[in-house]
């Protein structure tokens, strides 16, 4: 068998992602073909934006497909990077934004934001970040109270926090005006990219880029961190500092992703596993691979969401339908990898 180096595998995943982006541009209700794309390109090159303005294919490409595709890729990357980071920080391959309660917490923030902040997207982001951070803090605190090191406690504490947050979301839905607010909250949280425009993209881009950069800078220490806090401390790692930085930046990403796309489950749990399986645990490769694969998978699923039926299927339904069985498969086939 040919051995492919980790760095080369990452390049291959990157190329696959680019190919998928191109394919995604071409699929959808409006029939956009390669001929349209080359026409747009030549118009752009000859006459700039004015020349291309009248072409309906350009409107579809620029105002609908491109912002949506890029937002999907960013949300997928954000969720899997944060999943990868949480798994190392909590030294637990079973945790993810969903399991730690961050997604539900941020979802609660989104619902609150939609109800009480006149729908301004910035406020929705901010409130989602605050409630998401609170959720992960409570999960961590509960698991410490309950027994600390055992990885199972954290999963159980996350279930507690998620249930609470989801109950509060239900309460908000119950209280919301059924004609004006309720449908908005329900569809927002079920997740989807139908409303994604450049605004969502530009809000997400800095959040993901900055967080990814920060976490990548700490890649070496994060490798050591995964050996356990005591062992890492004995190797000179400032464990408290690393934990704080990585949790804050991961949570920022999840909150932003939830504010942009609703509660997208499973990506943050499953993708880091696949990435680790492909390139190994070393953060230098593992993190970029998670980011690219997260973008790739979510884009694939979003393409399904908008093409399988006439009406769009909420993305969380698709991610769960694919993610849950896939995780079951991983559980059964990868018993030896320390999941206890």
């Amino acid at each position: 068998m040919i051995r492919i180096a980790a760095a080369e595998k990452i390049i291959i995943i990157g190329l696959l992602l680019m190919a998928l982006i191109l394919i995604s541009i071409l699929i959808g209700n409006y029939d956009l073909g390669l001929a349209d794309l080359s026409l747009i390109l030549s118009e752009l090159l000859s006459g700039g934006l004015e020349a291309v303005g009248d072409n309906p294919a350009w409107s579809v490409l620029y105002y609908i497909r491109l912002p949506r595709i890029f937002t999907v890729v960013l949300v997928g990357s954000a969720l899997s990077i944060s999943g990868a980071a949480y798994q190392n920080i909590f030294r637990n391959p079973l945790v993810s934004p969903d399991i730690l309660g961050v997604s539900a917490g941020a979802g609660l923030g989104v619902a609150l934001g939609l109800l009480y902040s006149s729908g301004s997207i910035i406020y929705v982001y901010l409130i989602a970040f605050i409630t998401g951070t609170a959720a992960v803090a409570i999960t961590y605190w509960l698991s410490q109270l309950a027994g600390g090191k055992n990885t199972m406690f954290m999963v159980l504490a996350g279930i507690v926090v998620s249930s609470l947050a989801n109950a509060l979301i239900s309460l908000l839905k119950y209280l919301a005006d059924p004609m004006q607010n309720l449908p908005g909250i329900v569809f927002y949280l079920m997740g989807g990219f139908a409303r994604s425009g450049w605004q969502e993209f530009y809000l997400l881009l800095p959040v993901v880029l900055i967080s990814l950069t920060v976490i990548l800078f700490l890649r070496w220490q994060l490798n050591i961190f995964s050996l356990g806090e005591k062992e890492a401390a004995a190797l000179g790692v400032d464990t408290e500092k690393i934990k704080l930085i990585v949790i804050v930046f991961s949570t920022v990403m999840v909150a932003a992703a939830t504010a942009a796309a609703g509660q997208v489950s499973w990506i943050g749990l499953v993708i880091p596993h696949i990435a680790r399986f492909i390139v190994g645990s070393k953060y230098k490769y593992y993190l970029p691979a998670s980011a690219l694969l997260g973008g790739f998978s979510l884009l694939l699923m979003d393409n399904l969401a908008r093409t399988v039926s006439g009406a769009e299927i909420p993305i969380s339904i698709i991610t769960a339908l694919i993610g849950a069985p896939f995780f079951a498969y991983l559980l059964i086939t990868k018993k030896e990898s320390g999941w206890s």
């Binding site: 070496w220 401390a233 004995a234 190797l235 000179g236 464990t239 645990s281 990898s337």
Partner: protein
């Protein structure tokens, strides 16, 4: 030099260490003996700066360990944990490289010279062929050697080993302790907790015997390791026969009969 003065530690209201005075000089191999629950591991964690004592202080080259950062401590003290598999697997070479961490800045990555050094250490320990293998897939003895290589990579003058042989067979146990002996001859301070008094007797310069968190005997091996002291430590009668310690079983059927 590592020193503790009147060290006291308790978990909640249970006293685990009482007035421990300890000192180790360059080139010394010190073994800590004591029954399960006598406080060996707690003592280790205090001396490594991982637990903060209730009273007393620990001096590392004259400096109070409480005032040192984790990185400063790690430059002087290396800890060799009991071998176990990692949750997330790494290559052997990466595991060894992690030892250079105390010498790197917060966001720095190990450089080419560190990679070379790591390979040299693996070669010295005669396990260079393992460098690209996955740490979880090599044998327990090999893992322990890799962890020792990591401790050497750390360039610290003091090495702590808490029951390093707990998962090792006869050969690997003696191999690891022999390497420790050699390191102590190269001026490192080796501090181990051992379950088997015979191993302590064979390899160390000095022995400290703990019982219920107190030192009941301390000093050079030949003076301290008497059948009497060990009997007190383990609360069972112990005989000494030709420098091998064995339990004094009443029932001779448990012992192998010479033909």
């Amino acid at each position: 030099m590592l020193k503790s003065k009147n060290l006291n530690f308790s978990y909640r209201d249970q006293k685990v260490l009482r007035n421990i005075n300890f000192e180790a000089e360059k080139g010394e191999f010190v073994s800590i003996l004591g029954a399960n629950g006598s406080g060996k591991t707690t003592f280790f964690q205090c001396m490594q700066g991982l637990l903060t004592p209730d009273a007393g202080k620990i001096l590392l080259d004259g400096e109070n360990i409480k005032k040192m950062t984790k990185k400063e401590i790690a430059r002087k003290i290396a800890v060799v944990p009991q071998e176990s598999k990692n949750i997330f697997d790494y290559q052997v070479l990466d595991m060894v490289l992690m030892g250079i961490n105390p010498w790197l800045s917060f966001t720095e990555q190990p450089g080419v010279d560190s990679y070379q050094k790591a390979e040299e250490i693996l070669a010295e320990l005669e396990i260079l062929e393992l460098k690209n293998k996955s740490f979880n897939k090599i044998s327990g003895g090999e893992r322990q050697l890799v962890l020792i290589a990591r401790a050497i990579m750390q360039k610290s003058s003091i090495l702590f080993l808490d029951e390093p042989n707990s998962h090792l067979d006869f050969k690997n146990t003696h191999l690891i302790l022999k390497i420790m002996r050699e390191l102590s001859l190269k001026n490192k301070i080796i501090i181990t907790a051992l379950h088997d008094p015979n191993l302590a007797y064979q390899y160390s310069d000095r022995v400290i015997i703990l019982k219920a968190g107190k030192i009941i005997a301390a000093g050079p091996v030949k003076e301290v390791m008497t059948a009497d002291n060990l009997s007190r430590a383990y609360e069972i009668e112990i005989n000494k026969e030709s420098s091998i310690f064995s339990l004094a079983f009443q029932n001779s059927r448990l012992l192998k009969q010479e033909a």
